[in-house]
């Protein structure tokens, strides 16, 4: 028999994140979180003050880990294209390794309410955006990339990944496909990276 001597605080966070991802913030009750985590309801307010406090804590932790993983790829002595390819690889891997959270983040981003969260998410994402922006702009300036609509290219890169996270069935025509299956997930990751690298290579570097 396992001791199950787990930190209640952590158990609440994990259960809440799972439930928020599955049924949304409003669609999840504190009683569900308590039941799922094995903690008493009052513990939620004891540790986090409120239901929203739990949500904010989840977002803060995730976004912190998010930013810390931001590599300073720009300093490396490699071509703009290779920089971009590395960013794509890192970005795809990170997002497809945390699909549930990214679904939740995306959902929250599309809501008008909770502007505090909206801004927080926006700021976190804009860091990645600026990184990609600098790489592509740099490539254009040194003549290795074509003149393109940089912001639109970024929208295509990020949009592709988000689209696959939210609607993987679109990409995988086979019915018995599951993003939670590690084998399937690995395959989707590789395919997404290969596609985006190929797409950017052709679009940005083809002489025309």
């Amino acid at each position: 028999m396992k001791t199950e001597k787990v930190d209640k605080r952590q158990a609440i966070l994990e259960a809440a994140e799972k439930l928020f991802c599955e049924t949304g913030y409003e669609g999840t009750s504190t009683r569900q979180i308590a039941r799922e985590s094995g903690a008493n309801m009052a513990m939620i307010n004891y540790y986090f003050g409120s239901k929203e406090g739990v949500f904010v804590e989840i977002m803060n932790e995730r976004i912190a880990g998010f930013a810390s993983q931001l590599k300073i790829i720009n300093e490396d002595k490699i071509s703009a294209l290779e920089k971009l390819h590395r960013v794509i690889e890192g970005y795809v891997n990170r997002i497809l390794s945390n699909t549930a959270f990214h679904k939740m983040m995306h959902r929250e981003l599309s809501l008008t309410q909770r502007p505090e969260m909206y801004d927080k998410i926006k700021d976190a994402m804009s860091q990645n955006m600026q990184l990609i922006d600098r790489i592509i702009t740099g490539g254009i300036e040194d003549g290795s990339f074509n003149q393109v609509d940089v912001r639109m290219v970024i929208a295509s890169i990020m949009g592709t990944i988000t689209n696959i996270v939210i609607a993987p069935h679109k990409v995988m025509s086979c019915s018995n496909f599951d993003l939670n299956n590690p084998k399937d997930k690995k395959m989707i990751k590789e395919r997404t990276i290969a596609h985006l690298q190929d797409l950017t290579t052709v679009y940005l570097t083809t002489k025309r």
Copy 2:
């Protein structure tokens, strides 16, 4: 003085769609819908049976209009590339003319609950997907398109549009930008269409 002799049923639908888009399904109460529409609360259940009935009705109406607009572009005697460009133009115009609804649809798609809705949305979208799939596959078969990962290309096209709808601030760096401003919206539409047409042209037809 305007007569305001509006259909209460319709008023409920419009108010509900607005609220669902802004604050989500769970985040919207029937009392809000009643207040916003000027109808009595009981009218919601009188006309639609339940809160979910309102939601289902909104989705059904939208999806019906969605499908009816599906042109049979495949029959035209034009190149695969031109077919694709027309589909992109139509798709961008439709989605960017109904941004609030598409946000809602997208949000609902990312929830595990309400599988009935999930399937309905999925089916509606897969129609568009199959159309694009046939066009690209046809272009590959007749040799005018490169060999590409068709599903991934579709994910990029659709993902780009969705990304712009949900996070337009990403594309527009200028701060005083509003998707509800017709002038700004027109500009975003044209820019999105131009980008996607350019991207697909280069990626699909460049000899390499």
